[in-house]
Symmetry: C2
Subunit: 358 residues, 2 copies
């Protein structure tokens, strides 16, 4: 087991990455305060891994809350289902919410924990690669709104993240690839050496070799932990982690949530952001080719759904990084270094979208 720490003062917490962690009692014990434990999971994950987590939670009063699978479930209706179940089980402020599942479950259960009785404790137990490398770390929680993804949410740090890579054995190949999109994002935005490593090890990751997975997950968590510690509430540097996401979120919303998976939309979003970076003279055209190649090697798309550039630009105007109505973009200053930029001419954005479609 590899362990690292997110340094946030009194809200610091450990991330554990390894095999056979779900059922390990000592990973849960420090977080049991005597109240009820609510495992929030979905209909796909529950039959696979719920019993292992219950084994790990031995002695606690456990309530299981099973929500529907998929991005469509990440809305108020499902949240209400979680609140109803927590209240029916008389969970108090001393309750512990365990988010067992992928990014949707983590975001939803995390937001439920953030606002249930004004906040209860949370453990993230991610079971998809995307959640293990990204969404379970850093405290961002949210639900979607018809007008935009993750529009309603909170910063709510977990007490710990328990990432068991054996859960990736049952992950559909398409979702594994979506996780790799976020792995690639971490590398492109923050660590050129990790880009090199990925170019050499993509096959092992696709073959789910455990040592490679543990390395990649740990490296992503280290990178993210560092950024989050420096900027918990995304005032500045944390925005780098949104590389590809301004375009990506608009693609997801435009295609209709669920039609394109998050990782697929982000893959195309990274190509668009890279093309925009070229147009602003930040990186060379060859670097976008290197990026395209890496994304293709992970089995991910590099061109988007048939959406008019104007539609995407309209959706982006709703992005949370917009300031005073102006969209800001996370762009590559180099492979391995992303930064937030405002004042980008609309025409260049349009050109970048068109370039990514070709």
């Amino acid at each position: 087991m590899e362990s690292l720490r997110v340094a946030l003062g009194s809200r610091s917490y450990p991330i554990h990455v390894g095999t056979g962690l779900l059922e390990r009692v000592e990973l849960y014990r420090p977080h049991l305060a005597g109240g009820a434990v609510a495992i929030v999971t979905n209909a796909v994950v529950a039959p696979l891994y719920s019993s292992k987590v219950k084994q790990g939670l031995q002695g606690a009063r456990v309530v299981e809350i099973v929500v529907p699978d998929g991005e469509q479930a990440k809305g108020w209706q499902t949240l209400e289902q979680v609140f109803d179940a927590l209240l029916a089980a008389r969970c108090g402020r001393d309750a512990l919410v365990v988010a067992l599942g992928g990014g949707v479950v983590g975001d939803l259960a995390g937001f439920a924990a953030a606002v249930y009785q004004r906040g209860v404790a949370l453990l993230q137990v991610p079971t998809t690669l995307l959640a293990q490398v990204d969404s379970s770390v850093g405290g961002k929680t949210a639900i979607n709104h018809a007008r935009g993804k993750n529009m309603i949410g909170a910063f709510h740090q977990p007490r710990a993240v328990i990432s068991d890579v054996t859960t990736l054995d049952t992950l559909p190949a398409r979702e594994l690839r979506c996780g790799l999109a976020e792995v690639i994002k971490h590398a492109l935005a923050l660590d050129a050496a990790f880009v090199d490593w990925l170019e050499g090890n993509m096959q092992d990751l696709l073959a789910r070799e455990r040592a490679a997975l543990v390395y990649a997950i740990k490296r992503c968590c280290e990178l993210k932990a560092e950024v989050v510690a420096a900027d918990e509430r995304e005032a500045g540097p944390r925005a780098a982690l949104n590389f590809g996401h301004t375009f990506g979120h608009a693609i997801e919303a435009g295609a209709g949530y669920g039609a394109w998976l998050h990782g697929e939309a982000i893959a195309v979003g990274m190509v668009m952001a890279a093309e925009l970076s070229v147009r602003l003279g930040l990186i060379r055209k060859e670097e976008t080719e290197r990026l395209r190649k890496l994304i293709l090697r992970a089995g991910l798309p590099v061109s988007g759904p048939a959406l008019a550039p104007e539609k995407l630009m309209e959706l982006m105007a709703l992005d949370k990084k917009a300031a005073q109505g102006k969209v800001r973009f996370v762009l590559l200053e180099a492979v391995g270094r992303a930064a937030l930029r405002g004042g980008v001419p609309e025409e260049l954005v349009r050109e970048a979208i068109v370039a990514a479609a070709q």
Copy 2:
């Protein structure tokens, strides 16, 4: 104008109490970050005071969001209305939400600000006595759930509280009395000298004499600011501010939200909590009589709606102060000193409820 400060480190903020404050530009200016300003108010308050606030916000892009009046509006549906309007107006993370109204508007708009795009800035501009002495200060925000009041919420401190007592001129008498219930609560829970002052000045408050109102509001805010600074997230001492509220919330829920106003329910709740304090040997019977007299002098009820004690006790089990399924009560150790207690025998709770009904 009287001003005081809630000391919470980087989240410290001023409270201003006085007359003619709504339209004072210099009170708003420090909080305008250049983004849109969303005034969230209700259908009763908007025609009375919205234009004054807009005057104070001169130069800013202002969006007005008018929600229905009343406790029934404090739910998800209204919250969705606020989110829709914020998104339609393309409010970004740099938006400022101004909560203009009573406790319902403050709680609802405050919660909307807490979770919209994971949190935007908030100004509380309370227009009822209840909101000016209590709910606008301290950062508690929430909406109701069918199974319990304020069950979904967040701690989200405002950037400032602007309490203009001239708004109390238009407050219905019943709501003025409800505000007095919270004034009495502050005194009983935290300040014996303030109890004495209230016994001597209740008539002036009921007559809406401005000097008396400013004094009472300022004193309540001082008391609350001190408690909140010591215990922002209600781990301990802040619970004293919930004196009367465990019973009171159950009364409100049991009678159906809106049938009994919050202050009325809290008035009876304080009598029940005092009767329970007597039964635990904490205060003498005469002290409950003094408390009853003060509450009656404010024109508030001292006995509750016809609800079976069992029903109230069941509703109380859902209270947020419950720990490991056990209800904890805020009890009087003396007039002017309340504290949280657990392990209270159910039979005594039943007796206290019955005693308050007589």
